[in-house]
Symmetry: C2
Amino acid sequence: MSETSTIRLSGPMAPRDAWTAERCPMAAAFGLVRNRSTLLILREALYGAERFGDFASRTGLSEPVAAARLKEMVADGLLAQDEYREPGQRARPRYRLTEKGSELAPVLLALKDWADRWIYDDESPIELRHVDCGAPVRVEIRCAEGHEIERANELELLPGPGARRRG
Amino acid sequence: MSETSTIRLSGPMAPRDAWTAERCPMAAAFGLVRNRSTLLILREALYGAERFGDFASRTGLSEPVAAARLKEMVADGLLAQDEYREPGQRARPRYRLTEKGSELAPVLLALKDWADRWIYDDESPIELRHVDCGAPVRVEIRCAEGHEIERANELELLPGPGARRRG
């Protein structure tokens, strides 16, 4: 609820008026996640859905919306489309997560952790556990030295290797 | 690109057709993040913006859109609104992150990590470091035993304490 929960802007990043965020990775990623229906399809793909009918029914999206989202996600490289054929049936499309799509899992898990605390009062409807040891799983922010970051004010923002000057 | 990148559904969660995801924390959280403009305002709040004019200019949103998003975010409890007054000026609104809003930082960082790899080829325009030790920061998925989870197929989905049966 105060300045202590904000990220520290350092070097050429301070003051904030000196630069523009045209090349912002958060906004760029959100450009592919796009909207709630994309997120629901991503969730079902992570839960193992592959067939059009499963995506539509499990997300509760209308068929035209599900079809439009699946097409976008294939174009964006989040899903790969091929075909399957059951005996005596015509070939139908199948959609599977690419590595690019699968690596969005931490975004969904971060949303889950947040909702578990702020919407479900730590009584989540679903639980994720580590297959090997059965312990509950959560998203953490850590530095390369292994320190866990608990608050935004422990973070410092600097230009990265792909930074460009304004103008 | 295969079934190995999906989450394992266990116990009453398998098969997937046996339950509905009406109470999905990922979807619930996304209901508050809503859209790209909310994300941009959240980013600027994390970077320390507090004034209406700063939110509008730094996000590139139009003033009506920025105003609508700020109002929603205050109603959702992500931002708290009060006033500030400069000498000889009228009082103006100020917006600051609440704890609820600040705790969405891992969602933004997960989006950043993903875009750094999949859009910027590991040449990110911005870098986040740990203030105390200067080491670069990233989002990790870990279980309570401290094991890092690298792939979705190391995760098992189970009903949580807030699960409800269908019907």
